[in-house]
């Protein structure tokens, strides 16, 4: 009895001493101060935004071409039907801007198709509803996903008024061309939600988003909070609209009509 109490006190003492001499390790394991260095060539902004010139980019073929680039570099599986996964796709004016349609719309506009993607809203409902912070807003405005945190409750899908999110109902790798993967971007597992990430991995090394780069000048990307940025210049000069203004989400994707 006495012996075991003595052992216990000894052990407790050693443990306390350990904590006293190794506070740095404890701090590090708490995750508060990870020694991550920012890439010197990374692009930075106070709030990233995109402007799409739909007078230049408005055919299904052209948009599908961009989607192909996007889906390839992000290893987005190609699934047919209702359970599809898509980051970038095209749809008609009525489906893209349902509240802003009228029966006498210019025929040319009515016939255009529009590129759709996550709007990276300033006020994102998906972030508000996510119960695990798997969907979060970065300080630069990008709404990002932590695929390892997501429990697959799909509340963000119910919350998004733009239908911008996809769920991996089954194993996405079954629908990927495994010989033609992009080794620089992870594939996902089943049971998690995914969506467009504004190419954060490319911004981190100073590149533009893949669709912007491939759009031949029909898409602009830059800092919305910088009055001298290219997106602000375009927004000043052209008339633009955003999807579903009534939802109050303040999308960061603007469309030149």
């Amino acid at each position: 009895m006495k012996n075991s109490r003595r052992t216990f006190i000894k052990l407790a003492g050693i443990a306390a001493a350990g904590l006293a001499v190794a506070p740095k390790k404890v701090l590090a394991s708490s995750g508060g101060h990870s020694p991550v260095k920012v890439n010197a060539t990374a692009s930075h902004a106070k709030h990233w935004a995109m402007v799409i010139d739909t007078t230049k980019l408005h055919t299904a073929e052209a948009i599908d071409e961009l989607a192909k680039v996007c889906h390839h570099i992000h290893n987005v599986p190609s699934i047919e039907g209702k359970k599809e996964v898509k980051w970038l796709w095209h749809d008609t004016y009525g489906h893209s801007f349902p509240e802003q349609e009228n029966p006498h719309l210019a025929e040319e506009v009515h016939e255009r198709v529009f590129p759709l993607l996550c709007n990276h809203c300033e006020n994102p409902p998906c972030v508000r509803v996510c119960p695990t912070k798997a969907t979060f807003q970065r300080p630069d405005g990008i709404v990002a996903m932590d695929y390892h945190r997501c429990i697959g409750c799909r509340y963000c899908m119910a919350g998004c008024p733009y239908g911008s999110r996809s769920f991996n109902w089954g194993d996405p790798r079954l629908n990927l061309d495994m010989a033609n993967l992009n080794p620089e971007f992870p594939t996902r597992m089943r049971g998690v939600v995914e969506k467009c990430n504004f190419c954060v991995e490319r911004l981190a090394v100073g590149k533009q988003p893949a669709c912007v780069e491939a759009s031949n000048g029909a898409m602009f990307f830059g800092d919305l909070k910088d009055p001298d940025s290219e997106v602000r210049k375009v927004l000043r000069e052209k008339f633009t609209i955003r999807r579903k203004p009534s939802a109050g989400t303040e999308p960061s994707v603007y469309y030149i009509i």
Partner: protein
């Protein structure tokens, strides 16, 4: 007291075995879902919640409804209900367990479930729903079990329990309000984006829940010596009648707001459900209206309401009506039209229904075991026992014994 659930007739064990078989069959579909993912369900990119979540929503109502027996007893000292209270609480326990199971089978990564606790996120209503559901489960376990144990020992219910009972009454309202908030705070889902949704949820819960409880109690009466007091039944039926009227009134308010305002987004889901959906769903939605009308007619007419031969049918019709409205239409109407003003139809697959059957069977098992314990204890202490003439020993009845059981 658990030992009381272990001794029973052959019929009791047969029923338990039957439920276990159902659970076994349903779990094969769940194993399939674990292996292949939620791809086995009918859900899609556009309709991303399905039968699981709608059943969860309906059953939260059943959990909340126990309060309709508990509240008169404790807030109004309406003692006629007092021997029914335990059944309301035990039903709530089973309902909470089913709700939690429906959420677990619905999520894509169940192994990461604890992320909800490791990374608490107060801005998500789902976080609060987890808190209130688990809290309500705990409160009912504590209150129900403690009271029954005290009854068995012929002791008064302990005083320290009072605060928990009062908290549980308020809490019952919170679980259904928070569940409604899950839906009603979402932009772009017009069918749900209505301030009256929480009130609709409560009204529908307070008619469908007690209706289910009454039906289960009627079955309990058949197989045990327990007998509901006549006054308790008639009070409960009146509560059901009022709640169903309020429920349909609220639904009518929705219809008025949508169609008088003429706002397309608000009209579309209703038009879809009652006109444009697949013929099966449209028929079901109109069945809901018809059944609601029939059940209200039967409930508000004293002659029909007091006819205990007719009552089970009335309750059954009401349950079907509320289930179509809240356990099916609410969800499908919320996702259709989609954010693109298109229609993506949803219907649960066989496997989805099998998994749901498993959860319901688990709920039935919990109810069976808990009700067995409760009725055994009641038989031991002689509460609400059936008399020769069919009355309850709590009724004032011709064949009631001279010395009525002492009020505890």
């Amino acid at each position: 007291m658990l030992e009381l659930a272990l001794k029973g007739s052959k019929r009791y064990y047969g029923w338990i075995a039957f439920l276990l078989v159902l659970i076994g069959i349903g779990s094969t579909a769940l194993v399939d879902q674990w292996i292949n993912g939620l791809t086995i369900t009918g859900m899609s990119r556009d309709v991303s919640w399905g039968f699981y979540i709608s059943q969860f929503t309906y059953l939260v109502g059943l959990a909340a409804s126990g309060v309709m027996i508990v509240l008169p007893n404790y807030f109004h000292s309406y003692k006629t209900n007092k021997h029914m209270v335990i059944f309301g609480e035990f039903m709530a326990i089973a309902a909470c367990i089913m709700c939690l199971l429906f959420i677990v089978v619905d999520i894509g990564q169940p192994t990461r479930m604890m992320n909800m606790i490791f990374h608490p996120t107060p801005n998500s209503i789902l976080f609060w729903d987890m808190i209130v559901l688990n809290g309500y489960l705990f409160l009912n376990l504590l209150v129900g079990w403690t009271c029954l144990q005290a009854d068995r020992q012929h002791l008064p219910h302990p005083q320290w329990l009072k605060p928990f009972i009062y908290i549980s009454i308020i809490w019952a309202f919170s679980i259904h309000t928070v569940t409604a908030f899950l839906y009603q705070g979402l932009p772009g889902r017009h069918y749900w984006l209505t301030a009256i949704l929480a009130a609709r949820f409560l009204a529908s819960a307070f008619c469908s829940g007690p209706a289910i409880l009454l039906l289960v109690m009627m079955i309990t009466e058949k197989f045990t010596s327990f007998k509901m007091a006549k006054n308790a039944i008639s009070t409960l039926v009146k509560i059901i009648a009022y709640a169903m009227c309020v429920n349909m009134f609220f639904f009518a308010l929705e219809i008025f707001t949508s169609f008088y305002s003429n706002i397309p987004g608000h009209m579309h889901p209703i038009l879809y459900l009652f006109e444009h959906a697949s013929s099966g769903l449209v028929t079901l939605m109109w069945t809901f209206i018809a059944f609601a009308a029939i059940s209200i007619t039967l409930l508000v007419t004293p002659r029909f309401r007091n006819n205990y031969k007719l009552l089970p049918w009335t309750l059954g019709i009401l349950i079907v009506a509320t289930w179509i409205d809240k356990g099916l239409g609410l969800l499908i109407g919320g996702f259709n039209p989609t954010p693109f003003e298109t229609i993506t139809s949803y219907w649960p697959t066989g496997k989805e229904l099998m998994v749901s059957m498993m959860v319901y069977a688990i709920g039935a098992l919990v109810v069976t075991v808990l009700f067995k314990i409760a009725t055994e204890v009641k038989a031991e202490v002689g509460h609400s026992q059936k008399l020769d003439c069919g009355c309850s020993s709590e009724d004032t009845c011709e064949c009631a014994p001279e010395e009525a059981p002492a009020e505890a």
